[in-house]
Amino acid sequence: MGKAKMKFLSRPEELVLLAVWRLKENAYCVPIKKQLVQSTGHDWSFGAVYDPLDRLEKKGLLESYLSDPTAKRGGKRKRIYKLTPSGIMALIEIKTITDEAWDGVPLKVLKEEL
C-alpha cells in the first residue's frame, strides 16, 4: 500500500535526510556536510550538499528557516533545515524497506564470498 507509493530517494538524498534528523536543531549546511564526510568517508563539496537539500525541500520532505546572523559567519544567517512529517515518514519507510531487503543477509557470509 503505502510502501508501493513511495518515491525512491537517491542515495545522497537519503543520507542528507538522515543527517538532518541526527543533527536536530543544528541542522544547517556545515554540520550536515561534516556528518556526511564522517559517515561516507568521501569529501563532499557544498554544492553536493545544497543540491539534495534543495531537492528534498522541493519534494516537501524538508523545510527550512533562517537563524539570526552571527559574527563568525561574516554577519550571514544560517539556513536551518527541519524534517517535515512526510520527511519523517520517508525515513521510516527507507528504514523499513532497507531492513526488510537486507533481512537474512549476514555480513559475515558476504565477506566470505569475496
Partner: protein, 854 residues
C-alpha cells in the same frame, strides 16, 4: 586548538560565490562557506584555506551552470513566446516596425556591400602591401597641384639610386588601337604599355609564358584569355603575331587570365614601353610610375629620402616637384583626388540616416504602446523579476524584431539590387548580389542589426522597466504619456530630415535642367560627332566632300579636340603689351574653315578663317574672355604668340561654354589647321535623322575603309558630363522617398495610437456637441504642428547646404522660395494623407460605442 586570529576568505572568491547563489535567501551559502573556511584556516593556515575556498567555488560552478541554464532557457522561452504574441497582437505596429527597419537595413546592406567592394580594389596582389604609386606635389608659378603622372625618365633614375626598390614599372594606356590578326580586326581599348617588371609586381596569373621574361623584347605582347579566344579561337596563340594600328607586329609571349573587375589595371593586352620616349624636360608628365619597395622599408622613410629627388636635377625655372608615395591599396579611394571617396561618404551618411529614421519609428511606437504592456511588466515584477530582467526582455524583443527585419532586409536587398546597381551607375561585371554576400559584409550587417536592436530598444526598455509595479496594478499609471515630449521631438527630426532630402533633390534637378537648357553659346542640337582614329585622318577631305553632296547634311566642320571638352591648354603665351608676371592659361586647338559655322558660334568682331587669305594659317580667332584679358579695346590685328605660333588676331568669338561644369569661361584661341582635324562635326537636318545617319554611315564605309563607324550626338555627349550630378540626384531622390515613406509609416502608427487613446475624450466631445469636422481639425492640428516645426528646422539647414553645393557651378539657379514651399507642402500633404484615415475614423465613429460601460 590554538585560537588564531580571524581571517576573511578572498574577497573576489566570495563575490563569485554570491553571484552563483544569489537566490539562497540572504546569502546563507556565503555564511556556510565562511564558517568552514575559518575552520580550515585554523587547522591548516591561510594559504591552504584560500586554496580550499577557491577549490570549493570551482567545484560549485558546473552544477551552477546546469541549474541556471535550465531556468534561463525556460525564462527565455517565455520571453520569446511573449514577444511573438505581442507581434501577432499588434500586427499593424509590427508591420510598420519591421518594414521600416528592413528598409533601413537593406539600404545599409547595399551601401556596406558597395563600400567593401570598393575597398577590395587591388588588394588581391601578393605584393600589394609593398607597392606604391610615385606621386608629385607640383608647384609652378606659385600654384600647387597634386599629380599622379610623372616623367618617363624618373623610374630608371630611382632604380639606379635606391636599392630599396625591388621592382618598378611605368604604365601608359593607349587610347584605342586597331588590332588585327589577318582578316580579324577590331578596335581594342585596353592596351597598356608597361615595363617588364609589371607582371612580377602585380599578380595577374600566367596561363602560358613566363612572367619574368614575357616583356623583355621590344616587340613582345602579353594578351588575356579573352583576346586569345577572340583572335585565335582554335589555335595556339603563343608565338603568333598580332598587328597593331596596321603598322607594328607583336609576338605573343604570354597569356594571362582576364583582369578581375576590382582592379584599376584593366587591360587585355600589354606591350613594353618604347625607349624613344625617355628624355623629356621635368615639366613633362607622361607616365604613371609604380614601385615595389623592400618590405622592411616603410613608405614614410622612403618619402623622406626621395622628397627632393627631382628638385636637385631641375634646370627649368619656377618649377618645384616633391615626390611622395601613395600605397596601391589606397589608390582607388585616393584621398588626394577622390570624388569617389566623397560619394561613398554621402551614401553611407544617407543609409545611416535612414536607419536612424527607422529606429525612431521603433522607439516611438514601443513607448507609445508601453501602456498596453504595463500590466505584464507589473505582474512580472510582482512575481520576482528584477529591473534587469525587464530591461533584458525588452532589449531582447527589439533584437528579435531587428533580426526579423535583417532577414527581410536581405530579401529586399536581393530584390532591389538591380535598381541599386543602376542607381549608382556601376555596372561592373564583378559587382553582383552574390558577390556582396562576403563574410565581411554579413558580419557588418549582423553588427548593424545588433546595434539597431540596441539603439531602438534601449529607451523603451529603460522607460518600461522603470514602472512601479504597485502603481501599475492599482491602475495609477498615466497611460502612455511617458516619453511624449521625446516622441514629438523624434517625429520632428524624422520629418526635418525628409524635408531636407526633398529640398536637396529638387534643387539638384533644378540645377541640372538649368545647366542642360542654358544658352551655351553654340547650337548643340543635331550635331553628329565622328572621331577620326589614327590613320583615318587623311580620308577626312574626301569624306567631307561626299557628305556635302547630300541635302540632308547642312554643314561639316572639323576640330582637333573632343567636344564638348577642350582638353588642350597652355600657359606658354605672349601678346603685345602683356605684363610679364601675368599668368594666363589659354585653351587652344585647331579648326578648319567651316567649324565655327557648323556649330553656330558667333563672331562679335572681325572675320572667320577664309580660304581667300593664305596667311590665315598663322592667324588666331580668340574668345571674348581672352580679348578682355588682353585688355585692349579691340583685339583685332594684335599679335599673339601661342605654343610657338605667332600671328595676328583676325576675329573675336562670342563666349561659349567649352567645359560644361566649369566655374567660369576660360580664355580660348582657335588656330587654323584642316590637316589637324581629329573630330568631325556634322550638322544635319532635323527631319529623318535615322535615314541621314544611314547615309553618313554608308559614306563613311565607302570613303574610309577599314575603320569602323562610331558616332555620337553632341547634345548627348554634353549631357553625359552631368553624370555625377545626375546620379547624386537619383540617389537623393531614392533616399528621400524611403525616408519620407518610413516617416509616414511612423506617423501612421502614432496617429492610430493617439486616436485609440483618445476615443473616450472624442466620444464625450461629440456627445457635448462637437462636430466631426471640429474633431478632425483638433486631431490633425497636432500632427500638422509637428510637420510645420520640422519645416522650420529643415529650411535653414537645407538653405545653407544647398547654397554651398551650388557654389560649385558657374551658372546656377537661385534657391527660390517656391522650392521650399513646395517641399513643405509635399511633406504636409503626405503627413495629412497618412493620418487622415485614422482621424476621419475617430471623428465619425458613433460615440455610443466608446462611452458604453463595459
Amino acid at each position: 586548538m590554538t585560537k588564531k586570529k580571524f581571517k576573511n576568505p578572498p574577497r573576489f572568491a566570495e563575490w563569485i560565490l554570491s553571484c552563483i547563489y544569489p537566490d539562497r535567501g540572504d546569502f546563507t551559502s556565503v555564511g556556510d562557506f565562511r564558517e568552514e573556511f575559518f575552520e580550515v584556516y585554523q587547522s591548516s593556515g591561510p594559504f591552504k584555506a584560500d586554496l580550499w575556498y577557491w577549490m570549493q567555488i570551482a567545484k560549485s560552478i558546473p552544477s551552477f551552470i546546469r541549474n541556471k541554464g535550465h531556468w534561463n532557457i525556460i525564462l527565455f522561452y517565455n520571453y520569446l513566446k511573449t514577444a511573438f504574441r505581442n507581434i501577432k497582437r499588434h500586427k499593424g505596429y509590427s508591420f510598420i516596425n519591421i518594414t521600416g527597419l528592413a528598409l533601413g537595413l537593406a539600404s545599409c546592406f547595399l551601401v556596406t556591400g558597395l563600400i567593401i567592394y570598393e575597398l577590395s580594389y587591388d588588394n588581391f596582389h601578393e605584393n600589394s602591401a609593398n607597392i606604391y604609386r610615385v606621386n608629385q606635389d607640383y608647384t609652378r608659378r606659385g600654384r600647387q597641384f597634386y599629380e599622379s603622372w610623372t616623367n618617363h625618365k624618373l623610374m630608371q633614375m630611382l632604380i639606379n639610386d635606391y636599392p630599396e626598390i625591388i621592382h618598378a614599372t611605368r604604365i601608359n594606356r593607349a587610347d584605342s588601337s586597331l588590332v588585327s590578326n589577318g582578316e580579324k580586326s577590331f578596335y581594342e581599348r585596353n592596351l597598356i604599355t608597361v615595363d617588364n617588371a609589371f607582371f612580377q609586381m602585380f599578380t595577374f596569373p600566367f596561363i602560358k609564358g613566363d612572367k619574368r621574361t614575357a616583356l623583355t623584347e621590344p616587340n613582345s605582347i602579353v594578351i588575356t584569355e579573352e583576346i586569345a579566344s577572340k583572335y585565335f579561337p582554335d589555335e595556339e596563340p603563343m608565338g603568333k603575331l598580332l598587328k597593331i594600328d596596321n603598322e607594328y607586329d607583336y609576338l605573343i609571349t604570354g597569356v594571362v587570365k582576364n583582369t578581375p573587375p576590382n582592379s584599376r589595371f584593366q587591360f587585355n593586352m600589354a606591350v613594353p614601353q618604347k625607349k624613344a620616349m625617355y628624355d623629356l624636360p621635368w615639366s613633362a608628365m607622361s607616365t604613371i610610375t609604380y614601385i615595389q619597395l623592400n618590405p622592411e622599408v616603410t613608405a614614410d622613410e622612403f618619402n623622406r629620402k626621395i622628397g627632393d629627388f627631382i628638385q636637385k636635377q631641375i634646370v627649368e625655372e619656377d618649377l618645384q616637384i616633391q615626390l611622395f608615395l601613395e600605397p596601391l591599396e589606397e589608390l582607388h579611394l585616393s584621398r588626394y583626388a577622390g570624388s569617389l571617396r566623397h560619394t561613398l561618404y554621402m551614401y553611407s551618411l544617407c543609409a545611416f540616416a535612414i536607419l536612424l529614421v527607422a529606429c525612431v519609428n521603433f522607439i516611438n511606437l514601443s513607448t507609445a504602446c508601453s501602456a498596453g504592456r504595463a500590466k505584464e511588466i507589473g505582474i512580472r515584477k510582482v512575481v520576482g523579476a528584477f529591473r534587469n530582467n525587464v530591461v533584458f526582455q525588452f532589449l531582447g524583443e527589439s533584437m528579435l524584431l531587428s533580426f526579423i527585419s535583417l532577414f527581410a532586409a536581405l530579401v529586399l536587398a536581393g530584390l532591389l539590387f538591380p535598381v541599386f546597381n543602376n542607381l549608382i551607375n556601376m555596372n561592373a561585371a564583378g559587382f553582383t548580389f552574390l558577390s556582396l554576400m562576403t563574410p565581411g559584409v554579413v558580419l557588418v550587417m549582423i553588427g548593424v542589426a545588433i546595434f539597431t536592436g540596441f539603439a531602438a530598444g534601449c529607451y523603451p526598455a529603460i522607460v518600461l522597466s522603470g514602472f512601479s509595479p504597485v502603481k501599475i496594478i492599482k491602475g495609477h499609471l498615466d497611460r502612455g504619456s511617458k516619453g511624449f515630449a521625446l516622441r514629438k521631438i523624434l517625429v520632428v527630426v524624422q520629418f526635418g530630415f525628409s524635408i531636407f532630402l526633398i529640398i536637396g533633390t529638387v534643387v539638384i534637378f533644378n540645377q541640372l535642367s538649368f545647366m542642360k537648357n542654358k544658352e551655351i553659346g553654340y547650337n548643340k542640337e543635331q550635331i553628329v560627332t565622328i572621331r577620326l582614329r589614327k590613320g583615318s585622318e587623311k580620308f577626312y577631305p574626301r569624306f567631307k566632300n561626299q557628305l556635302l553632296m547630300d541635302s540632308r547634311i547642312i554643314k561639316v566642320g572639323g576640330i582637333s579636340t573632343q567636344l564638348p571638352y577642350f582638353w588642350e591648354c597652355t600657359d606658354n603665351n605672349d601678346w603685345e603689351g602683356k605684363d610679364p608676371d601675368q599668368h594666363v592659361v589659354v585653351g587652344n586647338c585647331h579648326i578648319d574653315y567651316d567649324f565655327l559655322e557648323t556649330l553656330g558660334i558667333e563672331l562679335v568682331e572681325g572675320r572667320n578663317f577664309s580660304r581667300d587669305f593664305s596667311t590665315d594659317a598663322n592667324y588666331f580667332i580668340v574668345n571674348e574672355t581672352l580679348a578682355n584679358i588682353m585688355g585692349i579695346s579691340s583685339a583685332i590685328g594684335k599679335r599673339l604668340t601661342l605654343v610657338g605660333q605667332t600671328g595676328n588676331i583676325i576675329g573675336v568669338m562670342k563666349d561659349f561654354i567649352f567645359w560644361p561644369l566649369d566655374s567660369q569661361i576660360k580664355p580660348l584661341a582657335f588656330m587654323l589647321g584642316p590637316d589637324k582635324v581629329r573630330f568631325v562635326s556634322i550638322r544635319i537636318k532635323k527631319e529623318n535623322i535615322a535615314s541621314t545617319l544611314g547615309f553618313i554611315e554608308k559614306t563613311w564605309k565607302h570613303t574610309v575603309p577599314m575603320f569602323p563607324f562610331i558616332y555620337s550626338f553632341l547634345d548627348e555627349d554634353f549631357n553625359e558630363s552631368f553624370q555625377a550630378e545626375e546620379s547624386l540626384g537619383r540617389l537623393l531622390t531614392t533616399f528621400a522617398f524611403i525616408s519620407i515613406f518610413i516617416s509616414c509609416l511612423g506617423l501612421l502608427g502614432l496617429a492610430s495610437y493617439t486616436a485609440q487613446q483618445r476615443t473616450k475624450e472624442i466620444g464625450i466631445r461629440k456627445v457635448l456637441g462637437a462636430s466631426a469636422s471640429g474633431i478632425i481639425m483638433m486631431l490633425s492640428q497636432e500632427f500638422t504642428r509637428w510637420v510645420v516645426i520640422a519645416n522650420v528646422i529643415a529650411f535653414p539647414v537645407a538653405y545653407f547646404v544647398m547654397s554651398r553645393w551650388l557654389q560649385n557651378f558657374a551658372y546656377r539657379t537661385t534657391l527660390s522660395l517656391w522650392v521650399f514651399i513646395l517641399s513643405a507642402l509635399l511633406a504636409l500633404v503626405l503627413a495629412m494623407l497618412t493620418v487622415s484615415f485614422q482621424v476621419f475614423k475617430a471623428a465619425t465613429d458613433n460615440p455610443v460605442d466608446f462611452l458604453r460601460y463595459e
